[in-house]
Symmetry: C2
Subunit: 404 residues, 2 copies
């Protein structure tokens, strides 16, 4: 009997979780498992704001994929996926192609600029290790240039963060913590630095408990962040941004603009002709593409409706990991011809949003928390992701233990 080809695209939370669980569930002779990823490393997407601000080195947020996969069961191919041909059961990559019997699409997110002029050209986004490292270096270069120029341009020391959602707030928390060190390093008067957060919605962290939002905003303001809530970015230019609040239009000059207000699923989804909303496919209860039962889509490219609110779950690591776990289980059943699949039921344990390494807000198991307690919980969440994929040895290597 022919062994089925299982191809997993992407080694983020969803894809890597699927791989490490599947390699435990099936034997060498039961399936050919192939994992495809652009890089030879996995990175903690939820830690990228730290690498971007420079509070955590980018090598601390990634680890080699070879550390967690079993090479006797999984073939790893380092390549970039270009397109999926569902009818031919083929995956086209930059440097080759693959055929599959079962496909897991876990290609993650991309930045979404909603067509706002200039954002793609002039703003940075916290998308991956490369872009995070570039943001860190860009800010440092702006600070280094300030004193080297005869004519001082104060706007070099202005950083605009577009969006006061989860990523924006967490990035701000790291940024304000980094500033004293950055100002010392580059002989900058801290009073010259401006950190501005622009959010179009009427509140920061929409959907979060209002009391916790107030705590987060006041903590960040105390550390120097200027919030412009209910204010939309109209355009990004080489010199900064143009914002509007009602009829009031204002230009903010800034050496660095980081866009943290929009994500979408991978463009490979659109390229491949799947029916999708911003690169997210509404999957069936078993996480499969309607009409293509052999294709599973998990993580940020999948769209799962929360039946309580009738709105999609936001794309999070928590959900991607749970989808990966289930996907591996269902794949193992299919490989063995045990047709009965299990439907996906997200188990949302809570949400914690960090405000730097020493502060956070969160709701965990329905309980509100903030300050050091929430911060401790955040690090536990971070370590848990490592544990689920790489076990305790990975936690020892890459985990966060500086609690206070």
């Amino acid at each position: 009997m022919k062994k089925p080809n299982v191809v997993i695209l992407g080694a983020g939370y969803g894809g890597l979780m699927t791989t490490v669980r599947l390699q435990k569930l099936v034997g060498v002779n039961e399936a050919n498992i192939t994992l495809v990823n652009k890089n030879d490393y996995h990175y903690e997407t939820t830690w990228l704001h730290e690498a971007s601000a420079g509070t955590l080195h980018h090598d601390r947020v990634r680890y080699p994929i070879s550390d967690v996969i079993n090479r006797s069961k999984v073939n790893f191919i380092q390549d970039t996926v270009v397109k999926i041909l569902p009818d031919e059961k083929k995956v086209l990559m930059k440097n080759g192609e693959l055929t599959y019997d079962y496909l897991v699409v876990a290609l993650g997110f991309e930045s979404e600029t909603f067509g706002i002029k200039g954002l793609k050209e002039y703003a940075f986004s916290i998308s991956n290790v490369d872009s995070a490292r570039q943001i860190r270096e860009h800010i440092e270069y702006q600070f280094a240039t300030y004193n080297a120029e005869e004519e001082k341009k104060d706007e070099r020391l202005t950083i605009v963060v577009g969006g006061a959602g989860f990523t924006g707030i967490e990035f701000l928390g790291e940024l304000v913590n980094r500033m004293p060190q950055l100002c010392r390093e580059y002989d900058i008067d801290p009073h010259k630095v401006r950190i501005i957060c622009v959010e179009a919605a009427p509140t920061a962290l929409p959907g979060f408990d209002p009391e916790l939002v107030e705590y987060a905003v006041s903590q960040l303001e105390r550390k120097g962040v200027e919030f412009k809530i209910g204010t939309a970015i109209k355009e990004c230019t080489p010199d900064g941004i143009i914002v509007a609040k009602g009829d009031d239009v204002e230009e903010i000059k800034a050496g660095t603009v980081v866009w943290a207000a929009g994500v979408r699923g991978s463009r490979v989804i659109d390229e491949s002709g799947f029916e999708a909303m911003r690169g997210r496919v509404k999957v069936d209860p078993f996480l499969r593409v309607p009409g293509h039962e052999e294709i599973f889509i998990i993580g940020d490219c999948s769209l799962v409706i929360n039946e309580e609110t009738n709105r999609p779950y936001p794309p999070t690591a928590q959900i991607a990991i749970q989808q990966g776990e289930l996907c591996a289980k269902n794949l193992a059943a299919l490989i063995r011809g045990q047709g009965e699949l299990e439907p996906f039921k997200p188990d949302i344990k809570g949400t914690v949003c960090s405000l730097g390494h020493d502060d956070a807000i969160g709701v965990v198991f329905g309980k509100k928390m903030w300050g050091t307690k929430a911060s401790f919980m955040k690090k536990m969440v971070d370590n848990r992701a490592l544990y689920l994929i790489g076990g305790s040895s990975l936690v020892m290597k890459k985990g966060k233990f500086k609690f206070f």
Copy 2:
């Protein structure tokens, strides 16, 4: 009797040496001594190539002026000198003015681009702590950007050094040593990096012993430097440089261009109406401005003729320090009305040019040397400058002791 006002402009090798010697030679009641400097720190100009390459942190190449001056005898003013009015015995600064009875001008060097188009706008120069730090950050930003861009621009990884003189060669030595670390940090294939040195003269290190020059060039070539000797930079553009060798004109695309082929004395010299060649004043045997016996000019703004060769001594730290020592002695004599001044006689002990922290070439007390021996000697030279200005405690704090 009125105490004379002694004003010293610049806290580089010459000015700071004058200050620390003078404060030892005269009593509190004998003179008002004022030191003016742009920054509140002194930096080791001869170590800036290390800070520029990123092999030595810029805080290791500087120390607070307050660490070495005696505040009961010396007033320190942090300000930028704009112009000297010799006839009014006045110094104009950005934020004030000073009158003097004796003036020591030790304002150091600036980069000289000889009118080559675009160099001032698009090339960096190793001139001070600010510019060195900016070069380091610029190179890092180019490397960080390389992988973050979808379309790879290999020229981001090309660094052009204009000039194979002392500074150019020493900078190249550090740069090639830094590359492996830099490539690891930014996930760059080392084979993609190009380091190109362009020199208009028919040899690298003109004036140096040819055997040592050959050693230096072959050591740097072995580590990856491409030399283009007898090749002139015609223009610097935002994309790189245009060079010519005879009739052959070539464009070299480069993300970083560092101009290390020309220095001149401070522009304050020209502003103040002194007769000068590229900001260097041909001083009398006592280091005074002809026609203004109360003004001493030392260091890179002074021009002293070597009577053996009938050519000016090159501006070096060695000479600046010796001029500062003599200037302090002569000032003390003048303050006390002991009219007899001592003429300046340079005592050139030798020259050592480093090729990274672990290699060098040099001629010391007439003896040629290279490799670890020369490298050891270079560090002794570096430590000696610290010792002469700040004594053994400064050597312990800032000295170089990693010999092998």
